[in-house]
């Protein structure tokens, strides 16, 4: 049984896939609070599927890009669970998850995935009609990345003038993440976070004068 989750958006999404199809998919009730919601959702998913932890054979996790705090909750959970249960952990770019779902729907057109990177920027990657990633992900101002192509994800709805082809605010789904892993719909990677930004930190200036 494959356990998957994504925490690279304001939502926590958890799913179980039995090799044939997704058997349970749960989405958090509250926005954010990934640290509080992820573990109980995993437990709930296992209860609903009627499985115990020893039934898990692999883990798939969204590696972002996305807000760092939530992203790390997903990654440290995946790595630690994988370590304890001695099962492999696969990373998937969270934009690829949105792309895999969208490719089925859009049929035959290139498109981009854009999500909210805060600070008036978006995370963006571009895809061909089959949902294979062509470029990205990058983080930048919407105006710099503006396009007329169909745009999947919240980045489009947040900045409609830069992304007139926006198609609705979807967030990465763990069910589709599971399909990406089982059907190899995108390249799998190590469970390393895609931060795309350096930490905000500057070496200190000389101490302020006090007299």
């Amino acid at each position: 049984m494959l356990l998957t989750f994504d925490t690279a958006s304001p939502t926590v999404s958890v799913a179980l896939h039995d090799g044939e199809d997704v058997v349970v998919e749960l989405v958090s009730g509250l926005a954010m609070k990934h640290g509080e919601q992820l573990a109980p959702l995993i437990e709930q998913a296992m209860v609903q599927a009627g499985i115990v932890r020893q039934d898990l054979t692999a883990i798939g996790v969204g590696v972002g890009p996305g807000p760092f705090t939530g992203l790390r909750v997903g990654l440290v959970t995946a790595r630690t669970l994988g370590f304890v249960l001695e099962i492999p952990v696969y990373g998937v770019c969270s934009l690829d998850v949105l792309a895999a779902e969208a490719a089925v729907r859009l049929e035959g057109r290139d498109f981009v995935v854009a999500t909210d990177a805060r600070r008036k920027e978006v995370y963006l990657a571009s895809y061909d009609a089959e949902g294979a990633r062509l470029a990205g992900p990058v983080v930048d101002k919407p105006a710099t990345l503006a396009t007329d192509l169909p745009v999947i994800g919240e980045g489009g709805t947040l900045y409609p003038s830069d992304f007139p082809g926006h198609t609705g605010a979807t967030r990465p789904s763990a069910g589709w993440l599971a399909r990406v892993v089982t059907d190899e719909l995108a390249e799998l990677c190590d469970p390393e976070p895609m931060y795309l930004r350096r930490p905000d930190a500057e070496p200190p200036r000389a101490p302020k004068k006090v007299s």
Binding site: K33, G35, E36, Q37, L38, A39, P40, I42, E43, R53, F68, T69, R72, V73, L75, V76, T77, A78, R79, T80, L81, F83, V84, L85, P193, Y195, P199, D200, A201, E202, P203, P204, P207, K209, V210, S211
Partner: protein, 348 residues
């Protein structure tokens, strides 16, 4: 003999990724990965840098602790983790990892208070805590006086800093003197070759008026400013700054206030045991001064060895083991990380 609980504790409230394993009061492993060098060039801990480092260090540190303890993870009876206070993003990595361990092992989880853990760690070295006891916790993040009646439920704050933490003052004064971060050990070393009465630096919240309202509280911001003024005046006059004397006199002022207020608090409560914890407890002058003055009052002083005073996973495991031993109810899986967890909330 009754079964002593085997507990794994995780601590990520600041820049140390700590994983400790204890059996009852026995320390089996204390693995720590520090990101302090990544912060040194910034002159202080950068939260995002710390959080990133925790994620990378977590599994390797758990693995190292298990290897050192010579145990298999499945043998652990419970997981304990620092729920707060501390840096929000940093705490969250530890709490999420602890939940994953609890889920993956099918074992209970205890989200505990970092400050109480600083107290409980002493049991690993000196055996059961005398109750009640008075705890002086001093580090870069906290300066508190706590009355401990039961380390798992009864922690009452008597006093705390109203501005900078003691360790912060050490860091800032070290920077003024051109000493590296973290400042504590460097000031301690410089002070050994200095004259502690060379400069009469102010003792914060020690005037009669201040004592009425802030008898057991601390303030180090005025002291820090006084040191800065003194150093600047020297520089302006073109004279060299006597780094060792400044360090020694500053350190004396900090320790004097900490020890005086701690002993006053203990005496006022009729408490005969003083425990000192936190990174600043590693300061050699603080330990010596506390022991000397306490013995005159018939008060016993307990200070864990320096490695257990700084933030580590063993202290969290020690408190977790106490929770299990005293039959406390474990935390729920939706346990939050709380950056401003009140000191009175020992178990979340």
């Amino acid at each position: 003999m009754k079964h002593e609980p085997l507990v794994l504790g995780i601590e990520t409230s600041c820049d140390e990724t700590g994983v400790g394993i204890v059996r009852g009061h026995t320390l089996l492993a204390d693995a720590v990965a520090s990101s302090v060098e990544e912060h040194a060039r910034f002159g202080g801990v950068v939260p995002e840098v710390a959080s990133r480092a925790h994620l990378e260090a977590m599994v390797p540190t758990i693995e190292r602790a298990c290897d050192t303890a010579g145990i298999a993870l499945r043998d652990v009876d419970a997981i304990a983790v620092t729920s707060g206070p501390g840096l929000a993003g940093a705490l969250l990595v530890g709490v999420a990892a602890a939940k994953a361990l609890a889920l993956g092992l099918g074992k209970p989880i205890y989200g505990v208070n970092h400050l109480a853990a600083h107290v409980a760690v002493d049991q690993l070295e000196h055996g059961p805590l005398p109750e009640p006891c008075l705890a002086l916790l001093v580090s870069g993040g906290h300066s508190s006086l706590l009355r401990i009646t039961d380390v798992t439920v009864g922690v009452d704050p008597m006093g705390a800093t109203i501005d900078d933490a003691a360790g912060e003052a050490f860091d800032k004064v070290a920077r003024l003197l051109g000493l590296p971060f973290p400042g504590g050990p460097h000031i301690d070393r410089a002070a050994r070759d200095g004259d502690s009465v060379a400069i009469d630096f102010p003792r914060g919240l020690s005037s009669r008026r201040d004592l009425e309202r802030h008898r057991f509280d601390f303030s180090f911001s005025g002291l820090k400013t006084a040191v800065a003024r003194w150093v600047e005046a020297r520089e302006r006059s073109g004279e060299p700054v006597p780094v060792n004397d400044v360090a020694a006199s500053f350190q004396e002022a900090v320790c004097d206030v900490l020890v005086r207020k701690a002993l006053d608090a203990a005496s006022s409560e009729g408490i005969e045991d003083l425990l000192i914890g936190g990174g600043v407890a590693a300061n050699s002058r603080l330990r010596a001064m506390a022991e000397e003055r306490a013995s005159r009052l018939g008060i016993r002083v307990r200070v864990p060895r320096p490695g257990l005073c700084t933030d580590n996973g063993a202290m969290v495991a020690a408190l977790g083991a106490e929770m299990v031993a005293r039959g406390r109810t474990p935390s729920a899986l939706d346990l939050p990380a709380d950056s401003s967890l009140p000191v009175t909330t020992v178990l979340v």
